[in-house]
Symmetry: C2
Subunit: 250 residues, 2 copies
């Protein structure tokens, strides 16, 4: 049991929620498995309807159960989705004021590592998706709106690669960083000459990376991603950005 030896006073709904958690773990229940209905829990725990409902809300908020009305309805175990997990974690960092350099310090080492292990292991469908994204914007953006769109496509490119990893933790961390970056609000001064050469190199990186992945060349993939990350960081630092302070919604 990881359960802390807690001396704290815990409200009844929280106690009930904890008991239900233990109940689920003990029986090793899985995704669709059903929990007892309200009436049964009222009897089981000797508490009122309201208390049971509050307990269910707690579990629901954590993504652990889903509830349906009607006959055959009730609560059942629900796998925590990646999106919800990212939102919950996002709430933690809401108070932390992450900087771009914080994020890039990690991206710079994780993303090259990721592509190195993925080389030669991607199926054709994934590779085609990546090719499409890499080629989607053949010209530099002319308007802030286009710029934003390209930015989002680029982050989706990275998230798509992470999804293909069989390391769920690596996938999550990289996807989470992509999401934070996507949620950034860009305050930028529009420079007269938005370095076309640098932009072009970024695009080439993506294209070359996909082909390195396709032919199973892990070392090249790693090297390409390294310089890509390096240049991406440079570009972003050149802009004035600020992380939006808001809670993430599921």
């Amino acid at each position: 049991m990881t359960d802390a030896p807690r001396a704290q006073k815990r409200s009844r709904p929280v106690q009930v929620a904890d008991q239900i958690k233990r109940w689920v773990v003990e029986r090793d229940l899985r995704k669709g498995d059903k929990l007892p209905n309200e009436a049964a829990m009222i009897a089981q725990f000797g508490v009122s309807k309201g208390t049971v409902r509050e307990a269910m809300r707690i579990l629901e908020a954590q993504g652990l159960i889903v509830t349906k009305t009607g006959p055959g309805g009730g609560s059942s175990v629900g796998e925590v989705s990646k999106d919800r997990a990212m939102s919950l974690l996002g709430n933690y960092f809401y108070f932390k004021d992450l900087s771009l350099s914080d994020i890039y310090q990690i991206r710079k080492v994780l993303e090259p590592e990721l592509v190195a292990t993925l080389a030669g292991k991607l199926d054709d469908e994934t590779l085609d998706e990546l090719r499409e994204m890499a080629h989607r914007h053949p010209e530099p953006a002319r308007t802030p709106e286009e710029e934003k769109q390209q930015h989002i496509t680029s982050l989706a490119f990275h998230a798509r690669i992470a999804d293909a990893a069989d390391n769920e933790l690596l996938d999550f961390v990289i996807s989470f960083m992509a999401r934070i970056l996507a949620d950034l609000t860009v305050y930028r001064r529009l420079y007269a000459a938005p370095n076309r050469a640098l932009w072009e190199r970024g695009r080439r990186h993506q294209i070359d990376l996909v082909e390195a992945l396709a032919r199973g060349d892990g070392q090249s993939a790693r090297d390409i991603m390294r310089s890509h990350m390096q240049e991406a960081e440079t570009m972003m630092n050149a802009q004035e950005m600020k992380i939006t302070r808001e809670f993430m919604a599921e």
Copy 2:
């Protein structure tokens, strides 16, 4: 607004919880700031007491608010603790069956990166704590119980270093991995000769690492951590381990 354009039917408590979240974000409320009390929310949202309470439980479960009874009590904004964030994220991985190699793939690149940036930046108090942990177990374990204790001390050593990072995201990821590893259940066969040489090298690594950090030698720190991670992985792979399948408690 990150808020998704959700068509779903959301129950009233969830709607109320969302509105309160928005309310908090709009006013940029911080850690101790108080929310309206139950009665006010009942009036504000035109819902019943039970509904408001369920909404509060949702926010509480996410670590966003804390509630106290009595005069001057009520709900207030509560910074999400690292522990709670780790627990919530742990629930996501509960369903994922992470392997040791998944975790070490990331540790191997992140921890060397961490110590490299930390060299020369730790205060004396932190360094002394690390020295104490590195020297705490001068002899190899003789019993499974001692072995477990040494394992936990070692993970605490890494978590302590992560805490000192000014990169909150890096801190969190490393601490989270340490916690997962600490939650592992060890099923081991006790080998006749538990490689004393390897154990001794691990201990030396920790001791040397602290001194490299103390004298500000980032390159050495990185190298030491690299081989330390490499050997730690080897040791763990030699053991039979299995991740305990249970929800983490706060």
